[in-house]
């Protein structure tokens, strides 16, 4: 997946301005089509006429006149969307969106590139969609909401439950997994600690035995003298 805005040229061949080719194999579906929409990227001049296609995965705007002109952004990269109606902020009522480019310092670079004729789509952090019929704005907003909810973060969204700190106890051992209350948890960890203390005592014992076996001359002598018997006894 590409973060931010990108060019989109995959159209069907029927008609002058073909519909976008969607990733239907992976379940992408067209949710809404809005004709007569112009698009404004950051502070660039509006581009029109065009048609807005909203799918379960992305927002696509395609020019009605130039087959090679089109933009798309995944819902995963749409940080925020809103209905903007104040003429002071923008001349026409529109759907205002903020786009996550995945770039931390895009703000300053974005303003630099705004005067250029050609611009870098990956730096665009704002997109306005202006339908010629402002009465459609609320419906569009709702479609945006619906589709945004269809696109949770791929990795983290299902995991927070798994990440709850209590679950780390499961990894300590099966005994911790079946704990029901706080008191039992304490009991069990105390037992756990006693068993940790236990091996400490054994450890010295084990070390002594080891030293005996390795360093004690008498053992070597004994081994040499009655090797067959000893080996047979140990194994």
């Amino acid at each position: 997946m590409v973060a931010g805005l990108r060019y989109f040229t995959d159209r069907s061949d029927d008609g002058a301005a073909g519909a976008p080719l969607l990733d239907t194999v992976n379940g992408e579906e067209l949710m809404h089509v809005q004709p007569a929409v112009s698009i404004v990227l950051s502070n660039h001049p509006p581009e029109s006429p065009g048609t807005l296609y909203i799918s379960t995965k992305q927002v696509i705007w395609l020019s009605d006149t130039e087959r090679t002109k089109g933009y798309a952004v995944d819902f995963l990269s749409v940080s925020l969307h809103a209905v903007s109606r104040d003429p002071e902020a923008f001349t026409s009522p529109c759907i205002y969106t903020q786009i996550d480019t995945g770039d931390e310092d895009d703000e300053s670079e974005n303003s630099d590139s705004e005067s250029n004729e050609t611009f870098d789509l990956s730096k665009i952090t704002e997109m306005r969609l202006v339908p010629s019929d402002p009465n459609q704005l609320d419906a569009l907003f709702e479609v945006f909401c619906e589709c945004a909810e269809l696109n949770p973060e791929p990795v983290e969204e299902d995991e927070p439950e798994e990440h709850n700190w209590i679950f780390s106890a499961d990894q300590l051992g099966p005994a911790m997994g079946i704990i029901d209350g706080v008191d039992q948890e304490w009991d069990s960890s105390q037992t756990h600690f006693t068993t940790i203390g236990h091996p400490n005592g054994d450890h010295d014992l084990a070390r002594n035995v080891l030293e005996l076996q390795i360093n004690d001359q008498r053992f070597e002598d004994a081994e040499e003298m009655e090797s067959n018997n000893r080996n047979g006894g140990q194994q």
Partner: protein, 93 residues
Amino acid sequence: MLFFSYFKDLVGKEVTVELKNDLAIRGTLHSVDQYLNIKLENTRVVDQEKFPHMLSVRNCFIRGSVVRYVQLPPEGVDIELLHDATRREARGG
């Protein structure tokens, strides 16, 4: 799901949502979903000089993954309730 349930209780209250891009939007919490996507109404941008274009926005949908903080109304924070809820959640219940 603790945060989801908790935020659902705050619906209708004034909150300030701070985004990871430093934009802070104040508004009435309209709804929240399981992904902590947040819908606000009657919004206004806290730092209007830095984000003048957001002035016009009256209602907006914020993607849960871009939220850094949600500032809560003090009266919406019930310590006892949160204590109980976090304990219950911690037991995996």
